[in-house]
Structures are given as C-alpha cells and as structure tokens.
C-alpha cells in the first residue's frame, strides 16, 4: 500500500495531471485505505490552508504584474534600460537583464517578464548579432532574476510553508537577485567582446532623460512597495494592495493606456492565475499536514542527523536535489512540498531558515529555464518560434553562470542576511 501511495502521485504527475489533483488523489487514497482519520479533516485543513491573510499577497502581486504588462509599463521599463546602457559591448544583452530585473521588482512574474522581453527584445538581439539560440537562451534565463528579486511569490509561499517572516525574505532576496543580474551582465559583456558582437547604439543624454521621464511612474512602484515594507509602513500583503492601486492609477490616469474594462479584464486574468496557485496551496496543506502528523519531517531530520552531515555538505546535497527537482516541478509545488520537510533539517544544522529560503528560491528559479520542463523555455519557444533543442543550446552558458551564482549565494549567507536583520 505504501508503494501505491508513493507511485500513484508520481505517475499522475508524470502524466500531466493537474498538481492540486495529484495532492488530493494521494490524500484521498491515504484517508480511504490507510489512515483512520475522519474525512472532515480534509475540508478543515484545506480551508485552513486558504484562510491566511498573508496569502492575499499572491493575487495582489499577480494583479500588479498583469497591470504592468497590459498598461505598457513593461515596455517603458525596457525602453528606459535601453536608453541607459548606450554604447558598450553587449549593451543590448545587458539591457535585457536590466529590464528583467526592473520588472521583477514590480511583479515577480518570471513568465510575464520572459514574454514581454521576448516580444520586444528578441528581434533586436538577433539583429544585433547575438544569434537566434543565444538570444533565446538569454531571454529565457534572465527571467530567473524575477523570482529572486522581491516581491516574489515563491518567497511568500516559502514564508507561509516554513513559517518565516515574508518581509525578511523579501529583503534577503535583494542582494542575491542583484548578484545574479550582475553576473549574467558581466558574462554578456565578456561574451560580446570575445565573439565580436557589434556594438550598437550610442548613449544620448536627451534620449536617456526622455526615457527616464517616461518611465518614472513605473520606476517609482518598486521604490514605493519595497520602501514601504522595509520602513515598516505596511505589511507585504498591504504593499501588494497598494501596488495594485498604484498600477491602476498609472495605467488609467498617467499613461492612459487602459480603460476600466481592460483593468477588470486584467483583474480577471490575475484572479484565474491566483486561483490555480492557491488551490495547490490548499491541496498541499492537507498533504503536508498528513506528513507532519505521521512524523515524516521529524523522521527525515533524525535520519539526516544520523548521517552526521556538515551544513556545507547538506547545502550541497540540497542544491543538487533541488536543481534536479526544479527541472521537473514548478516552484509553487516544489516549495509547498519540500519546505516543510527541508527547513527543520536546515535549522537543526544551524542554517538560517531565511538564508535557506533564498537558496531554495534561487534553485527553483534556475529550474524555471532548465531543460526539459522549465516553463520559461516553453514561453521563449512560443515567443521566438525556435524549436526547444535550439533554445536548450542557447541556455547552457547561462545555466553555468546561474549555478556559479547559486554556489556563491549558498556559501556566503551574509549576502542573503545582510539586509534581512534590518526589519
């Protein structure tokens, strides 16, 4: 029976069954055939999984991201970064990373960023001599920054699953996110120099000022959101609400790019996407509750402790496992399943749970563009029209850069924790 309980969910997952149904089916099998737990517990725990004020941050930031994409805020940010980088080797590639970072600081939606960047910058990158594969690889991989730079939905989920402060996690993500962006940028400049990619465009003060003026309303949003959280003006959930209000005002009255009907449409899209994420949260809550009541996390902690593993070795193993899992599972599922199991072990080995959250997030961010299942690959495929194997080839160099960044972030906890205690 135990084997069935392990095999059925894995088989369902591999067959493409919706993730929330995989959890629900596993729990149903357990309650019907294995554990003498009244079925009422299923309803009660699932309701409890959704009955969290902090969880509202997810639809709020998703909505802010939808508004950003639909209102032209994203294209203004891209134009602004392009105007700033000017005449330097790899300027177009660096602009792609910069725009992705700026978009991540508003919404935290990797897919939205890859879609927007792909549409606007892919043709220009190809025209600029980057080659189709490399350009697609750059676009798919630069989206990874969005999950690490706050606000991050992955961090909200980790905070809830591991019972950690979401503001601390947000602050902890800033430097690692900037490190990733910087490392990709440096790699692009080196690559452009070595490969002799022609330098395009030139820095024009007037153009830069004009683009800055055009983008200032969009740029103020992350300052407002993160500044508000950092200074203790409001909680991440409240910040999400204000971000939506701010984006609505900018879209409707400043840029005048959206009607009220468009705003309702964007809200509907955000509600649907949030529902798909949050129903997994609810279903995962009953699955993790069952694991916890059966003492599974504690049993794993005891087992790991018996192995007498050092924190360094543990983090290395975690990185290898998470990189593997990140290629197969989406970040929502991976965090909801693994955080309750791994965090007690990390804590027992003296690893700060906030730092561990950043390590998990970076791993899963890399998984977003790692072949074969990384979602950003599918998005890049649909935007660029290239076959998957061509994008795989373009991704490989960026994968190496990101894994190097991951190792630095893993073994230099100060990078994550330097800003976190300030809350």
């Amino acid at each position: 029976m135990t084997a069935v309980l392990a095999i059925v969910p894995l088989a369902l997952l591999a067959l493409g069954t919706p993730v929330f149904l995989v959890f629900l089916a596993a729990v149903t099998l357990t309650l019907v055939f294995v554990l003498p737990i009244p079925p009422l517990a299923l309803h009660q725990v699932m309701f409890g999984g959704l009955d969290h004020y902090a969880l509202l941050a997810i639809p709020f930031f998703v909505f802010a991201g939808e508004l950003m994409g639909a209102s032209g805020i994203a294209s203004r940010l891209i134009a602004w970064v392009l105007a700033l980088v000017g005449r330097m080797p790899g300027s177009l590639g660096v602009a792609t990373v910069g725009a992705s970072t700026a978009m991540g600081a508003i919404s935290g939606s990797s897919v939205a960023a890859v879609g927007a960047l792909g549409k606007t910058l892919y043709p220009r990158l190809v025209e600029g001599g980057y080659g189709r594969e490399r350009a697609a690889g750059l676009i798919a991989s630069s989206g990874a920054v969005d999950i690490v730079i706050p606000p991050s939905i992955a961090m909200i989920l980790y905070g809830l699953a591991a019972e950690q402060s979401i503001p601390r996690l947000f602050m902890a993500g800033i430097l690692p996110g900037l490190l990733i962006a910087s490392m990709i940028s440096v790699f692009i400049v080196l690559m452009a120099t070595v490969k002799g990619i022609p330098v395009v465009g030139r820095f024009d003060v007037r153009k830069a000022l004009s683009a800055t003026k055009d983008a200032v309303a969009a740029l103020f949003m992350p300052v407002f959101v993160l500044g508000g959280i950092y200074n203790g003006w409001f909680s991440p959930t409240e910040a999400g609400g204000f971000a939506c209000l701010y984006a609505m005002i900018v879209a409707r009255f400043v840029y005048r790019s959206m009607s009220w009907g468009d705003i309702v449409q964007a809200a509907g899209n955000a509600a649907m996407l949030s529902a798909r994420i949050m129903v997994i949260v609810a279903a995962a809550s009953i699955a993790t509750w069952l694991l916890t009541t059966q003492g599974v996390p504690q049993a794993i902690v005891t087992w790991i402790e018996a192995l007498d593993m050092s924190p360094v070795m543990f983090l290395l193993v975690v990185n290898m496992v998470l990189l593997g899992i990140g290629c197969l599972l989406d970040p929502t599922t991976a965090i909801l399943v693994l955080a309750p199991l791994l965090v007690p072990i990390a804590v027992s080995l003296g690893v700060d749970p906030v730092h561990f959250g950043i390590v998990m997030t970076v791993n899963l961010a890399i998984g977003m563009f790692t072949p074969p299942f990384g979602l950003n690959i599918f998005v890049a495929q649909s935007v660029t029209g290239l076959p998957a194997h061509a994008i795989y080839r373009g991704i490989v160099p960026f994968l190496a850069v990101l894994v190097t960044a991951l190792l630095i972030i893993t073994y230099v906890p100060a990078l994550s924790l330097a800003l976190a205690p300030a809350i």
Binding site: T17, V22, A25, H43, M46, L50, P59, A271, R276
Partner: protein, 186 residues
Amino acid sequence: MEAAVDTGRSGTRGGGGGASVTFAVRAKEAAHRVLGVALILVVGANVFNATGRYVLGYSFTGTDEFMVYTMIWVVMAGAVMSLASREHIGINLLPFYARGRLRHLLHCIHDLTALLACGYATYASVGFVTRIARLGTKSMGLGLPMTMPHAALLAGFAALTLVAGLLLMRSILALMRGEPHTEERS
C-alpha cells in the same frame, strides 16, 4: 511564479452546438469579469483598511475576514473554470506532445482522477459544513455564519466533480470514436 500549464481548450465539432458554444463562451467571459471585480473589491478593501489603520488610526473590524473569505470563493470558482478549460498547473510535457488517442487517454486519466478526488472532497465538505451549520458557529469579525466561507469549498468541489464527470464523458466518447483531438497546444 508560474508553472507548466496545459492550456488546451475544448474545440467543437462542426454543426449543431453553435448556440450552446456561444452561451458557454459568454458565460465564461461573464464569470471571468465577476472574478475580476471581486479581486478589485478585495484590493479596495485592503487599501481602505490599511489607510484607515495607518492614517486615521482606526481599523475596520472584519475587513480581513471579508478579503480572505471573498478570495476563498474566488479561488474555488477559478479552480472550476480552470478545470473546465484544462488550464490548471501541471507538468504538461506528455500532454503537450501527445496526439490523437493518446491525448484523449491522458485526458481520461486526468478527468477520472478529478472525479474521484473531488467527489471524495465533496463528501468530506458536506460532512463538515453540515456539522458547523448545526453548531451555528459565527466568524469573529463580521459575525457571519461560518457556513458561508466553508460553503465555498463545498460548492467548489461539487462543481469540480460535476465538470470532471462531463469532461470524462466527453473524453471517453472521443477516445471510443477515435476522433482527432481538437484542442490547441500551449
């Protein structure tokens, strides 16, 4: 944060059914708008409450409950709509590359899983909601009967079971007839 999404949409076979398809599309658009308006209301309540708390030094009792309970209804309604359009998050590689009968077979497995798992969850929810209705429990902030938010899960799972049953019937029929799949690829 996103994941692989199987966004195949049910197509239609020629003839007949045109009016019902139009009705279904309009109903979906209307439901989409309702969910959008609900989310905007929740955002409004959040901003209103936070402004009251920090600017006026006054907290509006029950706002948090209103937001959370509304969102629970939105989540369950969105889950039902996503199941109907096969847009739920999943590892979509196999469905993405599957063609013809194999794709119908995969959909049969998904639909059967949904039918059984959501059917059981409906049974669990009926028991729970009946019990709290008998006890007459009320929420602490708004004083709402707790059956109201809990009914979101009951209604949601019941609708998910119904939709799964309909999808399963359609998938089985398509599989038996050996129809080519008429669904878009994500």
